[in-house]
Amino acid sequence: MKKQVIVWLKNGMIAKMNAVACSANSHQVSLPSTEVELPVLIEITHEGLTTILDLSGFPDCVVLQFGKDRYFTGATYCRNRTDGAFMVQAQARYFLLMPLPLPYPIQETEEIMIKPLEL
């Protein structure tokens, strides 16, 4: 399923996209390495404090993290250069996996808004 995601930037601009959306109700999330096209939105629905994203073999991306209030809390770059495992553990409630390169300064990220897809 896809959803429209709007990232608000600190300078008042927005970055809009239609993202593949999935929800995570367990503490560890694995994504298929080749079948998913970025951007991907992961909404955390479990009540635990942290979630582990298994991004081993996943296409290069930047993982934007947002808290319960949908404000930006941090980011991680995923660049899989070897066959080894690569996981990210975070307290975020929303993860947005964006293709690289990001067209705006990452520190400009402020808030995320999620809407049903406009048809």
């Binding site: 930037l9 601009m13 927005i14 970055a15 809009k16 996209m17 239609n18 096209e37 951007p39 964006m98 293709p99 690289l100 390169p101 990001l102 067209p103 705006y104 300064p105 990452i106």
Partner: protein
């Protein structure tokens, strides 16, 4: 199957940066596009057509993109300053990744502009009904 031709440019046009990612496309009207190459540089201001983006280290992609973002905002304002209907503008990063520039922000697209009449900033034709980038 796509009916588009591959983009074939002269050595001179290639040296000017046309057909290489990233580049900017401005849609003048349906099927008529202008291409602006993007040149990242550190010391010497390149005497080349297109957008010139001064960065401290051209290998630092994030820093390049951050500077390019502000250059793009300025370019959008310059192109659309007095236009009632703004021109559609697109920053093309890869063969399957582009950002359409709008007044209030940017829109990610996995499809990039292609085909039509592709021209440079001086309205000289680069190619007709072809892709807008050189396939490696």
């Amino acid at each position: 199957m796509s009916s588009l031709n591959p983009l074939i440019l002269s050595a001179e046009r290639c040296a000017e940066g046309y057909g290489r990612f990233p580049y900017v496309i401005v849609r003048v009207q349906p099927t008529v596009y202008l291409q602006f190459p993007i040149h990242f540089y550190h010391h010497e201001h390149p005497d080349l057509p297109g957008l010139r983006v001064r960065v401290n280290d051209s290998t630092e992609l994030d820093a390049c993109m951050a500077t390019l973002f502000s250059v793009m905002q300025g370019f959008y304002a310059q192109v659309n300053g007095n236009e009632a209907v703004p021109y559609r503008m697109c920053l093309v990063l890869r063969s399957n990744l582009a950002y359409f520039w709008e007044k209030e922000g940017i829109m990610l697209s996995r499809e990039i502009p292609e085909g039509g009449a592709l021209m440079d900033g001086q309205y000289k034709v680069l190619s007709l009904n072809s892709s807008h980038y050189i396939r490696e």
